[in-house]
């Protein structure tokens, strides 16, 4: 099982992931329409780019916007989860070994202790988000089964990775579960809300351009 998952299937999964998400980005920008969106994207590109950069940058910073500052606990949980699921997989020693074996590239890795701290923080952040989803009426009313399945998938991915790295008992079960979740994420990302991995940037760029070009960006910078 592990061999299949880390063999051809992994390659297919990565291909689906990268090609699929690239297609989503291309389709997104090709579908923008200056008359329907009422934003002069091309003629005012300079203002648009400035607006887009400010819009993306502000929201990537923890507490960088009024929105993040208004919800400090959520912001902490959110960034813990996202830093954990983006940075850790990229620079984990275990993953670097796989890259070395598979592609022959010397991939940089972070110290295991840092990876542990970030993963556990991510797991706690994710659990906090689940609890918040169930407790707050304004979030509960929006929540559907897909939201819960997505969180379950990501938290299983995280938890199984942490257990596999530290608990030699039932190692093969945990590592197989971990890789299976990882492959599922890669395979489904372009077709589910996981596409926000790239679409977050797309929609933030669009609204940044909207404010940068049309809604005041030529006079003042919007204070995100």
């Amino acid at each position: 099982m592990y061999e299949i998952l880390t063999g051809p299937l992994l390659w297919i999964a990565f291909a689906v992931f990268f090609v699929g998400l690239t297609v989503r980005v291309v389709l997104y920008f090709r579908g923008l329409d200056w008359r329907l969106d009422r934003v002069a994207y091309r003629p005012q590109m300079k203002y648009g780019i400035r607006g887009a950069v400010r819009s993306v940058y502000s929201w990537l910073l923890p507490f960088g916007t009024h929105g993040w500052r208004a919800k400090p606990i959520y912001t902490l949980m959110f960034f813990a989860l996202h830093i954990g699921v983006v940075i850790v997989p990229l620079f984990l020693e275990g993953h670097a070994v796989m890259i070395k074996n598979g592609l022959g590239i010397n991939w940089p890795a972070m110290p295991q202790i840092l990876a542990d701290v970030l993963s556990i923080a991510a797991l706690l952040g994710g659990l906090g988000i689940v609890v918040r989803r169930m407790l707050l009426p304004e979030v509960r009313i929006l929540t559907n089964i897909n939201d819960m399945l997505l969180l379950a998938l990501i938290l299983t991915l995280l938890a199984s990775g942490i257990v596999a790295a530290h608990n030699p008992v039932h190692y093969s079960f945990w590592i197989t579960l971990h890789v299976a979740c990882g492959v599922t994420v890669l395979l489904t990302a372009p077709f589910t809300r996981l596409a926000h991995i790239v679409l977050f940037f797309c929609t933030r760029i669009q609204l940044g351009m909207d404010f940068g070009i049309k809604r005041g960006g030529m006079k003042t910078n919007f204070d995100w």
Binding site: V39, G67, N144, D223
Partner: protein
């Protein structure tokens, strides 16, 4: 009865149709007919396929259901944090469902959508600035209004308002003759106090073309004279067009995009005909949004800009005060605590947050900021057409509570509102809640406060 005589999918195109609508008191027959109005699902779906492209589609698909938009919405806050007032829920349960069902929705559903689109969202766009993805539900509600309008599900007053724009190129029935006449007799009345005052109509190549809200021509002509006096004192070379002076757009509130285009085309034609250097707009938020921010796109102008540079009144006043064209008599500055209600349409959606602060620096000794303020200010409670729809008066009155709390928190009993909609909302707020406040546009205050050059004063 699929199509009513008053409530139908056809926009107003004759005076008879308009009069019939006006004669229907409170829209009683209109709304009764609406309950029978057939939904043309094929046309609705065709329109969606033509107009719902990647921006809106992605907004609907990608929402993470995080609920961060909830507290950004004043209607959620003032309605006891009702989860059904969460912006994301409001748009997903209306537009989201219509799209999911490919337009196959019932009459009852469309009426629910209408009630949501016009009484649970003022298109203030505040949620858009609090969503991590930048999903602007105000923009989507405006889009939804357009879909509903195409199917005839639009509040009675807005069908009338939009019809007015179609027939008169103004939100009220003011003809070119009536307008020019109004300017003339208003100046005549003011001449005793302001010798040489004039409202130059259709003057070519002026520095400024001044444009207004039809209400001023119809019900508050003193506002036009006040503007004239201030231009006179500032020594501006200005004019007003006899035709194409109306900047407002009830059709924007109605989602009648065809009428929106008709209206701005008229305004831009007058700019092109008279070739002014700049345009100054009266104290109205949505009028500025319609003519300056959205209008260029309705008119199909690829650079997204109107034919000439356009200033909201607060921009002109700030500039005139800073440059010394207008000077405030220091002894006449406002002594009591005063606060400002900035319109969403010019402060959040047009970047004019600094203007009123500059003006207050000149005019007021004790200016109090509301919290939140500037581009994060809350809607007055009556924006997006909310003020004018009788069917939603109760909901509108609840909506005023946020502004009431904001004003009370400043400790000021005087509110300056350079926007017709905000001005109305604050007037109604005082009527409804009696918190003991006064409110005003800028013009009447400025006239009382500015230093008048000797040569403009009447000879004794």
């Amino acid at each position: 009865m699929p199509e009513g005589t008053l409530c139908n999918k056809k926009p107003v195109s004759t005076k008879e149709e308009l009069n019939a609508l006006l004669a229907d008191s409170n829209g009683r027959t209109y709304y009764a007919e609406m309950e029978e109005l057939e939904v043309d699902s094929d046309a609705l779906w065709a329109l969606i396929q033509k107009t719902l492209k990647s921006r809106t589609k992605t907004w609907l698909d990608i929402c993470a259901h995080c609920g961060l938009c909830a507290d950004s919405c004043f209607l959620y806050s003032v309605n006891g944090r009702d989860p059904k007032q969460v912006p994301s829920y409001k748009i997903q349960s209306t537009l989201g469902e219509i799209v999911k069902k490919q337009g196959k929705v019932s009459n009852e559903f469309m009426r629910m959508c209408m009630d949501t689109a016009w009484s649970k969202c003022t298109c203030c766009n505040r949620c858009g600035s609090f969503c991590p993805y930048g999903i602007d539900m105000g923009v989507m509600f405006s889009y939804l209004r357009g879909l509903l309008h195409s199917q005839g599900f639009v509040p009675w007053e807005l069908k009338i308002g939009s019809g007015m724009h179609r027939l008169f190129r103004a939100q009220m029935d003011v003809t070119v003759e009536e307008f020019v006449d109004t300017c003339e007799w208003m100046v005549d009345e003011a001449l005793e106090e302001w010798p040489c005052l004039e409202i130059p109509v259709d003057k070519e190549d002026a520095d400024i073309i001044y444009m207004i809200n039809a209400r001023e021509a119809k019900h508050y002509p003193e506002d036009i004279v006040e503007a004239a006096i201030l231009f006179h004192i500032a020594g501006e070379n200005w004019t007003m067009p006899s035709d194409g002076w109306e900047m407002t757009s009830l059709s924007m509130f109605a989602g009648d995009w065809e009428a929106c285009k008709m209206q701005v085309d008229t305004v831009y034609e007058s700019m092109e005909r008279l070739r002014p250097k700049r345009m100054v707009a009266t104290e109205c938020g949505h009028a500025y949004r319609a003519t300056v921010i959205e209008g260029p796109y309705w008119a199909g102008r690829p650079d997204g800009k109107p034919p000439v540079e356009c200033l909201h009144y607060v921009e002109w006043v700030a500039e005139a005060l800073e440059s010394g064209k207008l000077r405030i008599d220091p002894s006449k500055r406002i002594k009591e605590p005063v606060t400002v209600q900035d319109s969403c349409n010019y402060v959040r959606n047009a970047g004019l947050r600094d203007c009123t602060r500059i003006i207050m620096k000149h005019m007021a000794e004790d200016f109090r900021e509301m919290a939140p303020n500037k581009e994060h200010n809350y809607c007055c409670g009556g924006g997006g057409g909310f003020n004018g729809i009788g069917r939603y008066r109760k909901q509108r009155n609840v909506a005023l509570r946020m502004k009431r709390e904001q004003i009370l928190a400043t400790g000021a009993k005087f509110v300056i509102a350079p926007c017709h909609n905000c001005w109305d909302a604050i007037r109604d707020l005082e009527e409804e809640y009696e918190i003991g406040i006064k409110w005003s546009f800028l013009k009447p205050l400025l006239i009382k406060m500015v230093e008048v050059p000797e040569h403009l004063l009447p000879q004794e």
